[in-house]
């Protein structure tokens, strides 16, 4: 294994940093008691927030571009 073949970010981000997120989602979907509606609600909230965060940032920065650049 070398830096060139497997750069550190690949295993640090997707192997280590991702673990708490993978674990949480696995816990949501595999633990009991569960129902698909509530699990879906949590998942939609999670993904919606990622979209809102970066979407909001994109909108904000485009406003900055419009006004200042």
């Amino acid at each position: 294994m070398t830096w060139e073949s497997i750069p550190p970010g690949v295993w640090v981000i997707f192997g280590v940093v991702g673990l708490p997120v993978y674990a949480a989602f696995l816990g949501w979907f595999l633990g009991k008691p569960r129902n698909i509606k509530t699990t879906a609600l949590g998942s939609v909230l999670f993904l919606g927030l990622v979209t809102a965060l970066w979407g909001g940032l994109f909108a904000t920065t485009m406003v900055i571009r419009l006004i200042f650049f």
Partner: protein
């Protein structure tokens, strides 16, 4: 333990009553925020030339200064919050349940300020999304900056999801106590809500709390944030594995300080002496002492390792740091705070909530200044000749300094608005208190979960109410969670 019984009316009081002090605070913070945004507009118009941040070749070669120091500071403050809340849920530290949501909100507000600093530090902030996202598949492989953005995004989203899921329980039960204009919002928050989901949501937020308690301390402030500095061998002031625990200790001290300050203000503003009790402040003060001790200890590790026989470059930057008035002031303040915390631990009468407030403010000032100095000194004392003839030294400009006041005002403004929208104390917290007064199980965690305390004998996550009904009906059900709470402790997740 306070004897006055807390009720849901207590926690919705900020939503229904607005004092003149709220208007004054809102006016002042809004004015300061607007003033700073105007100054930031000036920076956008003229460019980073209006800061004292310089390119290589001038200004001491300091390309990162107050902005990045303040960014680290805000990320650190953001930690406390959710870690405290996650600890309440995972480890049964119910004493801190009344400040758990305040802590969650502090996380979100402080993280927003940290994110804002990334924008503010960029010469062309309009390029942040269009340059970061398309190049992500390549930059994530080797760039700590890409890792940093990844973890902050995950941390923010996990925290907001946590809040979004837990707020439904409260919103479903407090709907008849909120002002009319909030009804549409609460209808959206509780969309599809049924009493059956409480138990499932409780399990889901347990998993989120588990993820957060690993993500926040170990992978964010003990991970990618210090890696922005510690992996750079050419900067002896930054380089070294000790930066991980050092950054973490700073984050935890800052965060506990932030929670102490906001809890103090809320307690004063809304007569919450019986909800955010003196006991909570004593416990937070002891945690501040423990984390503050770690912070100072890790500073000692760095100083000894650098000045003994580390090499000329490392010794040079460390000698410059430890003789700098800012460093002496920061560490001096930490030692004074530790002296107070030690004194009140030995002699409890030394403790007072205002003194702990002053200690918290002193810690925040110390961590902010130490972190800015860390960033600047690392750049001013590099280990390669490119910087050799760089003239001048760095001192933050007015534009930069105004950002600290501006973001503090903005963060306060966010809190003032949130106070009028959702209850900042969980309904569970007053339910717990009510059951404790009725002879429930709250005494099992009393005085047991600060550093050095005895081990808690109980303390599973608070059980959800069995039905959606009025609070009075709920508290009359004496087996509400005295039974199910401890049952839940051994339930599979």
């Amino acid at each position: 333990m306070a004897t006055k019984e807390s009720t849901p009316d207590d926690i919705v009081r900020p939503l229904n009553n607005t004092s003149k002090w709220w208007y004054i605070a809102f006016g002042v913070t809004a004015a300061i925020s607007l003033a700073w945004l105007t100054i930031y507009g000036y920076q956008l118009d003229r460019g980073l030339a209006v800061t004292n941040l310089s390119d290589w070749g001038s200004g001491g070669g300091v390309t990162w200064g107050l902005y990045i120091g303040a960014f680290i500071w805000w990320v650190g403050i953001a930690h406390g919050g959710i870690i405290l809340s996650a600890a309440v849920r995972l480890f049964g530290m119910k004493k801190y349940q009344p400040v758990a949501r305040v802590a969650e909100l502090l996380t979100i507000a402080a993280l927003a300020m940290a994110g804002l600093y990334i924008l503010v530090h960029m010469g062309r902030p309009d390029r942040v999304v269009t340059s970061v996202l398309p190049s992500y598949p390549w930059t994530v492989q080797t760039s700590p900056l890409a890792w940093d953005i990844t973890v902050i995004t995950l941390y923010f989203v996990m925290t907001a999801t946590y809040l979004g899921l837990t707020i439904r329980y409260d919103a479903a039960r407090l709907g008849d106590k909120i002002p009319w204009y909030l009804t549409p919002l609460y209808s959206v928050i509780t969309i599809g809500y049924t009493k059956a989901e409480d138990e499932i949501v409780e399990r889901m937020v347990w998993w989120l709390a588990l993820g957060i308690i690993v993500m926040a301390p170990l992978l964010l402030h003990g991970g990618v944030i210090p890696w922005l500095f510690s992996v750079l061998g050419s900067m002896p002031g930054w380089q070294g594995a000790v930066q991980g625990p050092q950054f973490l200790s700073i984050a935890l001290t800052s965060a506990i300080s932030g929670v102490i300050i906001i809890s103090f203000l809320l307690r004063r503003a809304y007569d919450w002496e019986h909800i955010i009790t003196e006991d909570v402040f004593r416990g937070l003060t002891m945690w501040l002492g423990l984390f503050g001790l770690l912070f100072v200890w890790l500073q000692l590790q760095q100083v000894i390792n650098a000045v003994y026989a580390a090499g000329v470059s490392a010794e040079r930057v460390m000698l410059a740091t430890i003789s700098h008035p800012v460093y002496i002031m920061a560490i001096g303040l930490m030692l004074v705070v530790l002296g107070y915390i030690f004194a009140q631990a030995v002699k409890p009468s030394v403790f007072s909530i205002p003194r702990s407030l002053i200690a918290a403010l002193a810690v925040l000032w110390a961590t902010l200044t130490e972190k800015i100095l860390f960033v600047v000194e690392g750049l001013q004392y590099p280990d390669f000749s490119l910087y050799g003839g760089v003239p001048g030294a760095y001192f933050p400009s007015f534009v930069e300094m105004s950002s600290v006041v501006g973001t503090i005002a903005l963060c306060t403004l966010i809190f003032l608005v949130i106070l009028k929208v959702i209850p900042v104390v969980e309904l569970h917290a007053v339910e717990e208190h009510a059951h404790g007064e009725e002879g429930g199980h709250s005494e099992t965690t009393h005085d047991t979960d600060e550093p050095g305390g005895a081990v808690a004998t109980d303390g599973g996550p608070t059980a959800a109410a069995d039905t959606v009904q009025t609070y009075d009906e709920e508290v009359s059900t004496t087996d509400h969670d005295a039974g199910t709470g401890s049952d839940r402790e051994v339930t599979d997740r």
